[in-house]
Amino acid sequence: MAKRRIPWLAILRFLTGATVLWLFAVPAVVVILSAFASEWIASVFPTSFTLHWFNEIDASDWAAVITSFEVAAMVASLGTILGVWLALSLNRFERRRVGGILDALIMVPNSVPSVVLGLAVLLAYHTPPLNISSSWAIVVLVQTALVLPFCYRMNAAALKQEIPVFREAGASLGAPPAMVVRRVVLPLLEPAIRASVALAFAFSLGDLGATLMVYPPGFSTVPIVVIEDVERGFYYRASALALILLTLSFASLMFLAGRSRGKKVAAVVGER
């Protein structure tokens, strides 16, 4: 008599997929549903939908959206430029001790809490002569410090792996270092640069800890408004704003970084 074999593997596969979806897709779904929900109490799904919350977003909230966008653009550009500059400069030191120390130093902002960094920046720049604590500049500064490690890392990795042989080939053909950087290195760095801009942009849009510590009066970003709304119980309005934020973040990731980064890891999984 043939025994019915339990399809363990299929069950495991299903559980894996379900877990991933539950953990990583559902939050976005919740934001979308709640942003358009007119009533969602005592039910699994919203019972009716509306655009009401989006209409309730007033001028000051839109100002926060625009500010978030502007700050993110500045931080992404500045962070990438500085990151590329750092990567190019430190590229020659990959083996020596100095390079290791500097590399560790660059990663420091990534390895400390954002509130600690925010506090440090606030202390450093709220007294004359370096007082920028009453302008948006201090927010841009602290967020640039936060994204710098990412931007540096991505470009340094590309420089270390694929690019050295082309730098040499360029030099052997007679091109001085500046020409090699301009015509060989930077074009080849393009994917890494795009990824770093996209990531810095998304990161800046969503930053809370550092921004909360340093932001000047009258200044507002979407995370700040969302948190205020949540604390006051305006959940649905917070969702509407959060949806705008998410859309901007995801758009930047898809548009700027293209399909390269995610696909690399995904391709690995798919190849098996």
């Binding site: 360029g170 052997s172 091109a175």
Partner: protein, 363 residues
């Protein structure tokens, strides 16, 4: 004659520095020591290459041959080495001003540029006027038969085509020297032979161009070079024409590297070939006899008898392993043409050889 060979083999270490000949110095390296990661990669190496000469740097991986090439190009520092290119000392000069042509093992064509731009790159770096770049690039591509592929990207081309583009790119700038890093190592045997021929023809068309060719493959060395420099652990084991290294190797390492060899003790030779210089002791070395030097028709003065153990077919010839000496202790490899009667395993044969075929080599 054997004594002459052996006296050359017994001579002390000699650097290959010689006074500049009529054609001038193509490349000169003096006292080059390179230490990488605690390991001595090149040990006080000095060499002279004549202008227009084709020199192969031969050796196993880790012997320092690629490091030597990269040093000449200017990518490897050395505390006390000095290097001249085309008579000009370039030790302190950065790579982009040395006027060299460098061919990488994986071609290193710029992936983001089309073929035309790749080849034009060196010309642009030298400030050649735009109007002249086009014709020069086209002519360079024509010389490697790739002129139809100007608009292609490297990723669209096969390995062999990419290599020809890389060659065109390196040569269009008319460098003083051409440095090649194992150009045929990754190719299959048939393609290898074809590319070797192309390189040889290219060199013939440019007699002023000094070529340094790095490889581990002795066939490359034998076929292409004017001179061969065999490196071992950062030092020159022997340098000379391919014939010199093949026919008169200095020691066992060189003999083995350049081809199959048999090593017979002086005592064994004394038994089979009376009249040879017997003052040699087994401690000093052995006599090297190449497999193709043995004949099975009893022609030469020296004689060795034995029994065929194995027969291997090597395309144009058969390779026999013949056991000889006391109770078959030594195995001699004999190469014999396929024509005529070929001994089979178990046959007893008499191998004859001449004194000219014996080279005394040190250990």
């Amino acid at each position: 004659m054997v004594a002459g060979n052996s006296s050359r083999a017994a001579a002390p270490e000699e650097h290959e520095l010689s006074p500049a000949r009529e054609k001038g110095i193509g490349v000169r390296v003096a006292n080059l020591t390179v230490v990488l990661g605690g390991r001595v990669v090149l040990d006080d190496l000095s060499v002279d290459v004549e202008r227009g000469e084709f020199v192969t740097v031969l050796g196993n991986s880790g012997c320092g041959k690629t490091t030597l090439l990269r040093y000449i190009a200017g990518f490897v520092p050395s505390p006390n080495g000095k290097v001249w290119i085309a008579g000009r000392e370039v030790t302190e000069i950065p790579p982009h001003r040395r006027n060299i042509g460098l061919l990488y093992q994986n071609y290193a064509l710029f992936p983001h540029m089309a073929v035309f731009e790749n080849v034009a790159f060196g010309l642009r770096a030298r400030g050649v006027p735009t109007a002249e770049i086009g014709p020069k690039v086209t002519s360079a591509l024509r010389s490697v038969r790739m002129e139809e592929f100007e608009r292609y990207r490297p990723a669209q081309l096969s390995g062999g085509m990419q290599q020809r583009i890389a060659l065109a790119r390196a040569l269009v700038i008319k460098p003083e020297i051409l440095l090649l890093d194992e150009p045929v190592s990754a190719l299959d045997a048939n393609l290898r032979a074809a590319v070797r021929t192309e390189i040889k023809l290219l060199h013939k068309a440019m007699p002023e161009l000094t070529v340094i060719y790095v490889t581990h493959d002795r066939d490359d060395a034998l076929m292409l070079s004017d001179r061969v420099m065999l490196l071992r652990e950062g030092r020159i084991a022997q340098m000379g024409t391919p014939q010199e290294l093949y026919d008169r190797p200095r020691d066992r390492f060189v003999a083995n590297y350049l081809g199959l060899s048999n090593f017979l003790s002086p005592a064994a030779i004394a038994k089979s070939l009376p009249g040879l210089d017997h003052a040699r002791d087994e401690k000093d070395g052995h006599y090297c006899i190449r497999p193709e030097s043995f004949r099975l028709d009893g022609g030469g003065p020296g004689r060795l008898a034995g029994e065929v153990a194995r027969c291997e077919w090597h395309g144009s010839a058969m390779l026999l392993a013949v056991e000889t000496g006391e109770s078959g202790a030594e195995t001699i490899l004999v190469e014999t043409p396929r024509r005529g009667s070929v001994p089979a395993p178990g046959d007893r044969v008499v191998m004859s050889f001449s004194p000219e075929d014996c080279v005394f080599v040190r250990e």
